[in-house]
């Protein structure tokens, strides 16, 4: 295929993309003449180029489309959704022809008479005369004074050289409709007020466009990719040199090296920026999708876009395109209600989907929010039980937020299941997987009746990442810094200690138990040496937080991620490999893979440490319970996850406020409650307390003794007649009462605990 044709294809595809967007905008505001002018010009260019290159089929289709657009512009035709749909169809058809042209190198055989006929029929059918009452509001704008300059602008294309008189002559018939009579009256005069004003616009716009064209060039993507690889190598070599310099005593290389380092950084910056593209490119198709969905479903949806000029790496852009499209479609399809439902719910008939992108701390945030019906937590709960993703007791201990996370689970993704649950979440697990593959995270919050918010956080670029270098069993590994939330040093002397519950290691991290994975055992490099000080990388994957135990932590380094050889791809724990500044090769750990192992492989870890409610890989149905006795001999149980701490306070330290027992706990007053009203408080000695924590406030439940921790699949067998009990079940072979912690918490703190957790995305 020759270069000319290639260029034509690229250019025309771009134009078609713009046309899509502009048409949807135009349909909404059919009085905006600049948009229409732009649309007409684009279509005209396509037609013209097709004619020039000898592509009769394309030319004919474009011509038909241009015809209709011309009539829109001249006010001869009303702008109706049907007509716009037809133009969009025409654009799609051109696109299809182009694809065939690209594949075959020549215009495909065939006829487009059907489509052209349809378009022509529309072009001839509706006269613009504002006869119908409904069309009254849309037609006049094309005729009033704002409509006037468009005509002039069109003419400007052909009649640049024409003198104002001639232009005036052509446009004069319209002048009487203009509401400015002073402008209309001197119309026959050689220098009227309105016409030069109209003509003035065109050269300015043209000058701007050509300036833009001169300041940008088209570069083949491969060239940039290659440049990026070279820069990556340069960065590595620079790092290597810096490392050598650090070991050297003499300082003669110091200054030039620093300069080299500086230049390399700038070069890296520059090339990275070269790969940057506005995120709007990934959004370009979305208005069209929403528009089509509106037409199909009869909904009214407004797509608000903010921050479309936020730039991110081309590669990242490609990878989020599909998830974004999917999510917008979800929002429009299932999130936004029909106009009638919306009005019934006291909302405006037209729904709003807001798409927003912004930079923050080396990351791009994309926020997709709708003001639709939100997710139905109760139904997700039911579905989670039905699908065997969680047991009732599991769900009882989960916050609404945690329950919502189920839509990201694979089991929730198949269409039938989901539509019956909430009509949402089709393929949300795929979206999450895609986002996580590029090192991003996704969060979601939903309020029933008020809408749903998704927040995606993705790195700016994939090629070079900042990584933490760690060592285990004498071998170094890199961990992408985005996955490390914090570092904890655990040792015999430091306050943090690694504790074990039947071979499973945990760490008390502030108010929760953090399950730990030993990198050493995970990678089969021997057993942990518990006498040494170790470091814990607190990592988060999805909403699952866990700790990775390593021997040492070095500094952070900028690394170039290289994919591992195909032979090594069978191992889930590596995200790639890289060459460090000192020339050594090290493996980059994949927190996603490790999280998987933390949930699946380490059975002991599972059994004792429990899940995190939304952790992805734990075996479903099992729950860890803390067994205790309080008030009677019967065993009672609460989900271990709900328990923040088990404390023992001396009875003498229990005070009373407002007739209720409290203890001073971590500088706050913690209310104590007993599970039975008839609980007899101890007179002296120690009182074991289970501490529950919600929204930063603690509640203590006085118990007689803590018996055990059991992990079991719990099925509630007897429904209780008593408040505060979820029911009774067999736990570890014994009949046990399951305590409804939420009930007790709510009873004691109805006001302050009633509120939900804020979603971190909203706080950000």
């Amino acid at each position: 295929m020759d270069d000319l044709l290639n260029e034509f294809l690229t250019e025309t595809n771009e134009s078609l993309g713009t046309l899509d967007v502009e048409l949807v905008r135009f349909e909404r505001d059919s009085s905006d003449v600049t948009i229409l002018g732009n649309i007409f010009r684009l279509m005209h260019t396509i037609k013209g180029t097709c004619g020039f290159l000898g592509l009769p089929r394309l030319e004919a289709v474009a011509h038909a489309g241009e015809n209709v657009l011309g009539k829109f512009r001249d006010g001869e035709l009303l702008v109706t959704p049907d007509a716009v749909t037809l133009i969009l169809k025409c654009i799609d058809h051109i696109r299809k022809l182009l694809a065939e042209l690209e594949a075959a190198g020549k215009e495909p055989e065939g006829s487009d008479a059907g489509l052209i006929g349809e378009i022509n029929a529309i072009a001839q059918a509706q006269p613009a005369a504002p006869t119908g009452t409904a069309s009254d509001d849309s037609a006049p704008p094309l005729f009033d004074d704002t409509g006037f300059p468009v005509a002039a602008e069109l003419l400007a294309e052909v009649a640049h050289a024409l003198d104002p008189q001639q232009i005036l002559f052509v446009s004069a018939p319209e002048a009487p409709t203009a509401p400015a009579p002073e402008a209309a009256i001197p119309a026959p005069a050689p220098e009227p007020v309105s016409v030069p004003a109209a003509v003035k616009d065109t050269p300015v716009a043209e000058a701007r466009e050509s300036a833009l064209a001169a300041s940008s060039i088209r570069v083949n993507v491969d060239v940039i990719e290659n440049l990026m690889t070279l820069i990556s190598e340069l960065v590595l070599t620079r790092n290597q040199l810096m490392q050598l310099q650090r070991m050297q005593k003499s300082g003669e290389f110091k200054v030039p090296l620093q300069r080299l380092s500086h230049i390399t950084s700038e070069l890296q910056d520059g090339v990275t920026r070269m790969r940057m593209q506005p995120i709007g490119n990934a959004w370009a198709k979305l208005p069209r999708i929403v528009r089509d969905l509106c037409v199909e479903s009869g909904k009214k949806i407004e797509l608000v876009q903010r921050g479309a000029d936020t730039e991110l790496d081309r590669q990242v852009l490609e990878m989020i395109k599909d998830p974004l499209t999917h999510m917008i479609r979800n929002s429009a399809d299932h999130g936004i209600e029909s106009p009638a439902d919306r009005l019934a719910a006291g909302k405006s008939a037209s729904g709003v989907i807001t798409l927003e992108a912004y930079h923050e701390g080396g990351h791009i945030f994309i926020r997709i929010s709708d003001d639709g019906r939100g997710l139905d937590v109760a139904r997700i709960r039911r579905k989670a039980i039905a699908n065997g993703l969680a047991s009732e007791a599991d769900l009882a201990s989960m916050s609404e937020q945690q329950v919502l996370q189920f839509v990201f689970r694979a089991g929730f993704s198949t269409a039938e299941k989901v539509t019956s649950v909430s009509g949402r979440g089709v393929g949300m697990d795929v979206v999450r997987t895609n986002v996580e593959r590029i090192g991003g995270t996704i969060e979601m919050n939903s309020t029933a009746g008020r809408g749903t918010v998704f927040l995606i956080k993705i790195p700016l670029t994939l090629a070079i990442v900042s990584a933490l270098i760690v060592e285990t069993a004498g071998q170094r590994f890199a961990v992408p810094q985005i996955n490390v939330i914090e570092l904890v040093r655990a040792g015999n002397r430091s306050s943090a200690r690694i504790e074990t519950i039947k071979n499973a290691s945990v760490l008390r991290l502030r108010d929760r138990l953090l399950p730990l994975v030993s990198l050493r055992t995970l990678l089969g490099m021997g057993e942990e040496d518990s006498t040494r000080d170790r470091f814990i990388l607190v990592s988060q994957v999805g909403a699952f937080t866990f700790g990775v135990v390593v021997d040492r932590v070095f500094d952070t380094e900028e690394i170039v991620v290289k994919p591992v050889a195909p032979i090594l791809r069978g191992t889930a724990f590596y995200a790639g490999n890289t060459i460090l500044g000192d020339g050594s090769v090290i493996m980059i750990l994949d927190p996603n893979g490790i999280a998987g192992a933390a949930g699946q492989g380490q059975a002991q870890l599972e059994s004792a440490v429990t899940k995190s409610g939304e952790g992805e890989h734990r075996d479903s149905g099992h729950v860890s319970l803390l067994l205790f006795r309080a008030g009677s001999k019967e065993l009672k149980a609460v989900p271990l996850e709900a328990v923040a701490r088990i404390e023992e306070v001396s009875v003498s330290s229990i005070e009373h406020v407002g007739g209720r027992p409290v203890v001073q706990y971590r500088d706050h007053l913690m209310p104590l409650i007993a599970l039975d009203d008839g609980h007899s408080w101890k007179e002296d000695g120690k009182q074991p307390i289970l501490v529950f924590d919600k929204n930063g406030r603690a509640l203590g439940i006085a118990v007689d003794e803590v018996v055990d921790i059991a992990r079991d699949r719990v099925t509630i067998e007897l429904q209780p007649g008593r408040e505060g009990l979820l029911g009774s079940a067999i736990v570890a072979g014994k009949a046990t009462d399951l305590i409804d912690i939420e009930h007790h918490v709510a009873r004691n703190f109805s006001a302050s605990f009633g509120m939900d957790y804020p979603v971190s995305g909203e706080a950000a």
Binding site: Q475, A565, R569, G570, T571, N577, S584
Partner: protein, 154 residues
Amino acid sequence: MTEQAQTDTGEGLTAFVTFSVADHYFGVPVSRVQDILTPDTIASVPLGPAEVRGLINLRGRIVTVIDVRTRLSLGASAAAGPRKCVTVESEGEFYTLLVDSVGDVVSLKEICREPNPATLDPLWCEVANGVFRAGEKLLVTLDVERLLNIRGKA
């Protein structure tokens, strides 16, 4: 050893880079070999396939080291002595074959190639594509692609 250090593959001649592993004598076509080196530090890959000894840095490229001894189940590696690496390329990736020592390049007539003996270990049959009588020794020629086709390869 036939000292015909011809690298060109003229009439019916194929040039092989020869190397030895556990007193066996092997050859791979010269055209497949990129580089011969003495490995410096090999970074191991925990949980990787047994045949993968680790990774090395070859002038800024990460190269996977395949232990031929393990690959051909020739027992545990002899601990002592410097070893050599024969680097080959496959599907855009670089691999290097860890061997005991590297010998000369020999050119052998295709007509001297004998098929694998029927009694040859099935594992070897899979990776060998013939045997040459090279002087006193037998030279087993290896098919690089099949040699690199290790379980665990995705």
